[in-house]
Symmetry: C2
Subunit: 293 residues, 2 copies
């Protein structure tokens, strides 16, 4: 195993550069496919999967452990991760051709590609710790940009009587005149930091009016590996309800691995629509539609 | 130097226990004085001060370096830190007798006691990384509890038509019928996480009405030691303005080491009242007063 060089660095840096230039482009499609494939190759060659004790009802988790035993990865949902995924499946996903997958397979393809680079980075662990977050934002941003047909921006001007100010934001998609704009925070996991998403949505609504922006929060997972090698999901449903009631209303929350404790939130007041991210690919046209009155 | 034992652990654990039992009590006064004194003793015996290159106009910074050279501390404001502080000054502060200090000396006594445990923990670095944050919240909470004459709580019930829910919060002081309540988030530093304070203030106002809670954010410093051993202050004044305009209005922001870039915020729209924490000790009676209409 390499001690100082990270075999994924060059491709990761290429992806970042291409994503900043034109996020929805076929070159980003290719870079994502290459990076995911190289990551999965690394995992297959240098690690073994080891079962974890799942404390989440109905879900099984494992982790990748380096053959040397020196390092292990974050938890991996065994039913969503397909280590033998075909390159053609990744190519279909990354170019936005998702109609033939079926809901369950689409969830697997999404989860496997998203986890690939994160797992490889966990066990290589050379270089900066922010790279899984940047990779994940690039992946989600690319898929959304293809479906929306427009690249996102990451700043917004604050309109005010006598103040010139721009605010750095998460991904903002301007879908054109007469349509809502999309405010899309993208996070690997959230914990207590999740309030940022509701607060930024509130700022956007304060600046531009209610209904002008649809807040769509996209999250990978809330799993946490405990010291005793068991897996839990860290969830704060009561706090989410307070944020949805008193700060702003999220239009959708999408998860790659939807936590059990958040499943009921869409069916009870204040009705936070939490869904698997696979659903985005069938309802993005609804999201693009003009706001109902 | 001790390799595995932390000489401050026992006193720190005592302080936590006593603070949870009765934060404004004389026993917490004593525990704080003891812990600060032991921390300063450790710094005097095991470290030397080394100048840092300050990139902040008008401020000088240094750091404590272990005599072995193995570890160094966070930046220390040379004009606010008095390594030779008298025990009697710490006793006066911790028992709430601050009237005889004068503004500038009060700032030094506050900063020196707050930094003492943080610096010692930086160079000892055994045990958990959360202890400086817990220590600082206990220090600020104790001083505020003495002035307000009441202990804070850390949860609040969410009143709603058909939902039973409690929300964990920062310090909440209930000052009695007819007075505003105080919502006091306490942070070592904030960066982009600062939006939490405005968001939680918004939740409280949404639940209980505007003006019911006065939001008072207390922060130690925003200094950051760069790789080249220079010191900067990480400030986001434009974002603070947006939060104050569109999320909620903070009643006060107090700093132990007030960042240069936040000084002008109190004098221009949206007028965020940012002050040195020393000012709290002369205006706490104003904070306790009934809300103006």
């Amino acid at each position: 195993m390499p001690a100082t060089a990270n075999p994924l660095s060059r491709l990761y840096n290429d992806l970042k550069r291409l994503g900043n230039a034109d996020l929805k482009s076929p070159r980003v499609t290719d870079a994502l496919v290459h990076l995911c494939e190289l990551s999965l190759d690394y995992i297959r060659q240098h690690t073994k999967m080891s079962q974890l004790t799942s404390r989440v009802t109905g879900k099984r988790y494992m982790m990748a452990v380096l053959n040397s035993g020196a390092k292990s990865s974050r938890p991996i949902n065994s039913d969503l991760f397909d280590i033998r995924i075909a390159r053609s499946d990744m190519e279909s996903l990354m170019s936005g051709n998702t109609d033939n997958f079926g809901e369950q397979r689409l969830q697997q393809v999404l989860y496997t590609t998203a986890l690939s680079f994160c797992i490889a980075t966990d066990v290589i662990s050379v270089g900066n710790r922010k790279s899984p977050g940047t990779f994940f934002e690039t992946l989600v941003g690319h898929l959304a940009a293809i479906k929306f047909g427009v690249n996102p921006s990451k700043t917004i001007a604050i309109p005010s009587l006598d103040i010139e100010n721009t605010l750095p934001t998460d991904l903002i998609f301007d879908l054109g005149t007469g349509r809502a704009k999309v405010h899309m925070p993208v996070k690997i996991s959230t914990r207590e930091r999740v309030v940022q998403a509701w607060a930024h949505q509130r700022v956007l609504e304060g600046m531009h009016g209610t209904g002008r922006f649809r807040g769509i929060l996209v999250i990978l997972t809330e799993t946490n590996k405990q010291k005793d090698i068991s897996v839990v999901e860290v969830c704060l449903p009561g706090q989410w309800a307070a944020y949805q009631m008193y700060i702003s209303a999220m239009y959708r929350v999408y998860y790659f691995d939807l936590p059990k404790a958040y499943e009921p939130l869409k069916d009870r007041y204040p009705f936070i629509p939490v869904w698997p991210f696979s659903r985005f690919f069938t309802e993005y046209a609804t999201i693009r539609s003009p706001p109902a009155t």
